[in-house]
Symmetry: C2
Subunit: 348 residues, 2 copies
């Protein structure tokens, strides 16, 4: 897909080394030859920087097998150590693409936001797995990126690896997107299905927690904050808006009772946490709220931790994309998807 032969080698700097980075390294390790041959994607990971384990750096590339071994352990790095913090790595390394996966706070976007700025200031592309940058400061970061001819991509932030943005940009190219409705939070979707099976909200929450589905801040899921941030990202990228989180009405599932769930079922409906965007006369209406959907609504059938978005388009009517909304390899693929987009050169 790249237009240059031999393909340009992308030098990747990873900020953060949690589950998503590990999923990415696993894919890159298993598919290196395939990606080069079929998609002309050539790369090295030159840096990995973390808050607790230190920074590894080698300008001609770290070995993927070393990285995979590090991924298995939790101990401080021992090879190719460099006394750099994240921001210094971003500014001083020879990385051409920064993959931003640092633990960040959703309400402030930090430190992810500062990492993005540092990358653009030094002319590096950014692939972010954090929701903060695109949810809170998309316009500012987009402008910074454009000034330097850099890509700013966020595929992994909305449906993990299910490719929303590349789907719209490439597969639906030429369509105008008029609105969307989606199930953007797998945890609440899982909980609502459990409650349909007859357990209480409290028990469903405990069950989700024991499966590791909940964010550290539980309200992020059940209060609708996670879906709200994802909806802001969709509005900002697909509809060219500058929404603040406050511009999006938000209601979580915390007030739904077992009775509500069972009453709806008897009426042929299912409660779902629905996020919606509607464009009316260039005004955007954005909202997250629980809705009792009739079984005939395709979104009512999206079960467990699956996510889905129905896009309303001018040429095709409704088109629905359903896929995973979480997972290490899945979200790692979301990051790879952006790396491949940068490789095609269409955005820069």
């Amino acid at each position: 897909m790249s237009n240059s032969f031999p393909p340009k080698k992308h030098l990747i700097g990873l900020v953060g080394f949690g589950t998503v980075a590990r999923g990415l390294c696993q894919i890159l390790s298993e598919k290196r030859a395939y990606l080069l041959k079929e998609l002309h994607f050539d790369f090295e990971i030159v840096a990995v920087t973390t808050r607790s384990r230190g920074t590894m750096y080698h300008p001609s590339g770290l070995s993927l097998s070393t990285l995979m071994a590090c991924a298995e352990s939790k101990t401080p790095f021992t090879e190719h150590l460099k006394a750099w913090n994240s921001e210094t790595m971003i500014r001083k390394s020879n990385a051409t693409i920064i993959v931003e996966l640092a633990d960040s706070i959703l309400t402030t976007g930090e430190p992810a936001l500062s990492h993005c700025r540092a990358a653009f200031e030094t002319g590096k592309h950014v692939v972010s797995g954090n929701k903060g940058p695109a949810a809170l400061a998309y316009s500012e970061l987009r402008a910074l990126a454009d000034q330097k001819g850099c890509a700013f991509l966020n595929e992994a932030t909305v449906l993990s690896g299910t490719p929303v943005f590349s789907f719209i940009r490439t597969a639906l190219a030429g369509n105008k997107i008029l609105g969307l409705r989606g199930i953007l939070n797998g945890t609440t979707n899982y909980m609502l299905r459990e409650m349909e099976a007859g357990i209480s909200y409290k028990l469903a929450l405990e069950k989700a927690d024991s499966q590791g589905f909940l964010e550290a801040d539980k309200m992020a899921d059940v209060g609708g904050f996670d879906a709200q941030a994802k909806l802001a990202i969709l509005a900002n990228i697909l509809f060219n808006q500058s929404l603040n989180l406050d511009d999006i009405k938000r209601k979580g599932i915390t007030e739904l009772s077992e009775l509500d769930i069972q009453t709806a079922l008897r009426e042929g409906k299912r409660w779902k946490l629905v996020a919606s965007l509607t464009l009316k006369k260039n005004q955007i209406l954005a909202e997250v709220k629980p809705e009792a959907l009739p079984f005939s609504d395709p979104l009512s059938q999206v079960s467990g931790t699956l996510n889905a978005i129905t896009f309303s388009t001018d040429l095709l009517g409704d088109v629905t994309l359903t896929g995973p909304g979480a997972g290490s390899v899945e979200t790692g693929y979301g990051i790879l998807s952006d790396l491949l987009t940068i490789n095609t050169g269409v955005l820069t």
Copy 2:
């Protein structure tokens, strides 16, 4: 998306001027400025050739408003007449892309097949809206196209405008597709839903006919031949196979009774005509048959004339795409999607 500035102008020759061509002309007419500005897609339609209305040709382009007026009437063409048949237009016109939409016979692929060969022999890209070429002779035509550096694209043939091939090629790039299951025929899907509401097979068939949903040969839909051809196209393009139609087991819905439908409903299941492809040790298993799907299967919820395909992938697990499977503008968009792919230059 194009890499050249100013963008290269594509010269389009239309073979056939039925509902799909009209849908395409309508989109091109309404979106000309948008397509140029946003996607750097510049074009002229230089020729339209038909069996019954003659051939129009102007090497620097026919006016879209003339074409739209012609689309409204059914009378022979009167302007820019040229005494060419389809094959002569393909060989002698200055078109760079042939959009192949001639009435063709599915079992032989003709005349579409001959049109494709003529186009590749004279170095022209082909966008086909006919199922025959890719279902019956994909390997041969692919080889011919490759020899001349031409594109051979078939987006509109499987799910009308719902973009299957560009979705796999771009949005799912890097994934290995392990198999798929889909509802590829909207007419039978509509009929089965009608039968669920309590009417007989015979009445459902009449209702589909009165709505204009049936192909001229009714068995194409209800006998599963249409789904079989679409499955062959998916196998040939996505799995690099050279399947004949005979390699695909086929059973239609003609033997399903009202009792079968109602019994399934009582058991929480819905009959659907399911087309499936499974890759096992590089052997492909392909089959079209009615299946009683539990309500929990997302395909059981695809209603009316909607189509859907669930792709099994190595990195993302199951990803499902649901959208329209018919319609003039929708299928016209399928053609446009391929024209935009040619415009990106990634395939040639």
